[in-house]
Symmetry: C2
Subunit: 356 residues, 2 copies
């Protein structure tokens, strides 16, 4: 493959200034890591948290009569709009389907709001809408309401799509970091890093021996099967912005526990591993769009793995990658190939802007 | 007041090319008039309409167990972000609250997704979040989930906010254009044009004797009171992009009936009328954010007006402005001050970009 362009190298070596000095939004605030968390904790959570409910991670869980609902939203600003394995339409549908699935909900209905830039080709909009409908049909959800706004040339970037979703929760489990217990097994549904590397390769015109395709896929069927089997699922999290490492830190903090991961157990394809090495990226921080962790009692790990295997897509098989421990709250340790342990932090700064 | 700037004059005199020749998105596609309808009919409705449900106007009505839900979304790209009487945060909350109310639903929960431009002041984001929370509290809804994305400088315009909302429908009425009957009364909840003229005055730095303030306000309490009184509400529609004229054409088309409006009965403040005259705009095409039409049996018009009067805000009182007639489907006629009748069409092209 070709060497990284100066743009990539500059992005990778950027050293963010300390948060206390920030008065303006930086690209890193959209990275899904520490700065995004600062915005949520510093602005949105204090503003929006009411007495009954707060701003949740993947989505909110709500009571309506005898029903429990999940409700979630995601803005999609991925660049480019089309890339190997997916596009902004498919990612907008699957991203919201997956957020609902991670709440343990059966996804039902989606909304779609489009911000179009003047001059955007109508034929491209038609392609995106068709891709959204195909993804919705594949996931068994309906896009039931929408909105369209147009901004002047130079005030957007072709197309931004925001989806929101509503699903129904049909079990009594509380799927949340607070349900996680010491001794629980940490499973992963497949290999990591394909989405992020697919975007980076496309954007920077890097050429690999074979193209890396995004893992973008709906995950609701995996979750439905785990629940149908009566497994005592404690926590689910899809590994989007910030990757596996950031997700595990968030879960460990929410649980008030530690998590230990075995690096050799984390599935990564050779292609993704090679591309990450050349670019100086760590696979555990690279975003995915069709991969999640499932945390549940260790005694149920084998049964869960068997179910995840039956739903395996094009990638590597699911794996048991670690254990929840009664260590320091929020501490995630990674034991490397040579047996050395190091602590993983949230993604800091911005590894790759506009990944989703 | 000062004369309109060349920008305004150019916008007003713009003559859109015929739709058949369009291959790119124009600013007019976001105007809420004919071109927006072309996008919905030509792209979104064919793509997204499934067997069970279609893309609705203000929102979708959905069945979940014994409950009926309403679900809606709106992207907000208003420029400037702050203007007399409102701001992007207040409009994002009230816009979605009102779309739910127009479905006859009691608004419950909102999501909020932010697309931030690199360099946007964090303090301004804090002001917008505070404004959203104040509007949510005033409307009795909770902002329960959200998302934040960042785009590079020059790929946005400070801040775009997309809200989605879920509400519950607690009555058996089918509030829809298809429920409208010949002989029904057409009521309006207040005076028209204040939101559009507030934005235009701010954006073009026009100075009036006293500032025109946006009418941005939640409308769910008006609707709840109409329903609580047991009135047989046939159709509700808030008069946003495209204004009163476009909304009535849409309703008349959906009903397969004609509507006759008496221009002298339509409340317009002297300030708004004067500003419209100078700028060559017609108040019936100017957007509102706190005004709606209610269509119901003529025998219930007086009772409905009394209820709307009790919920009157700062503007003019509600009024009976017209009647549904068994004329040509979709025909809306306006009888002028001098008694002349003319047919109103949808807003064509773009009167005022990025009004909401």
């Amino acid at each position: 493959m070709s060497a990284p362009t100066p743009t990539v190298a500059a992005a990778l070596s950027s050293c963010p200034v300390p948060h206390a000095h920030r008065t303006e939004i930086t690209v890193g605030h959209g990275g899904g890591g520490r700065l995004t968390q600062d915005l949520i904790d510093g602005i949105f959570r204090p503003a929006f948290s009411g007495p009954q409910t707060g701003v949740a991670h993947d989505g909110a869980t709500l009571h309506l009569g005898a029903s429990r609902l999940a409700f979630t939203t995601d803005a999609h600003v991925v660049s480019p709009l089309f890339f190997p394995g997916s596009d902004i339409g498919k990612i907008a549908v699957n991203g919201t389907v997956n957020d609902l699935a991670m709440c343990g909900a059966r996804p039902l209905w989606l909304s779609a709001a489009f911000v179009l830039e003047e001059g955007f080709p109508i034929e491209t909009l038609r392609r995106v809408a068709a891709s959204m409908q195909a993804a919705a049909a594949a996931a068994g959800v309906a896009i039931v309401t929408g909105d369209t706004k147009v901004v002047e040339r130079g005030k957007g970037d072709g197309l931004y799509v925001t989806t929101a979703g509503v699903g129904v929760i049909e079990h009594a489990l509380a799927i949340s970091p607070t349900s996680v217990r010491a001794g629980d097994a940490v499973l992963i549904s497949g290999d990591i890093g394909r989405h992020g590397m697919a975007i980076m390769a496309t954007r920077e015109s890097l050429s690999f021996e074979s193209p890396i395709e995004s893992d973008c896929a709906p995950l609701h069927a995996h979750v439905a099967a785990l629940l149908a089997a009566g497994l005592d699922v404690h926590c689910l999290r899809d590994l989007t912005r910030g990757g596996l490492a950031t997700s595990l830190v968030e879960i460990a903090e929410g649980a008030g526990l530690a998590i230990g991961i075995d690096e050799t157990a984390v599935p990564v394809t050779e292609l993704v591993r090679g591309a990450c090495e050349i670019l100086g990226l760590e696979p555990v921080y690279v975003a995915n769009e069709g991969c999640f962790v499932c945390i549940l009692p260790a005694a149920q790990a084998a049964a869960a793995l068997a179910i995840l295997q039956r739903h395996q897509g094009t990638g590597e098989p699911p794996a048991l990658i670690g254990t929840v421990k009664a260590g320091p709250a929020g501490q995630v340790t990674l034991r490397s190939v040579i047996g050395a342990e190091r602590v993983l932090d949230r993604l800091s700064g911005e590894q790759l802007p506009r990944i989703c």
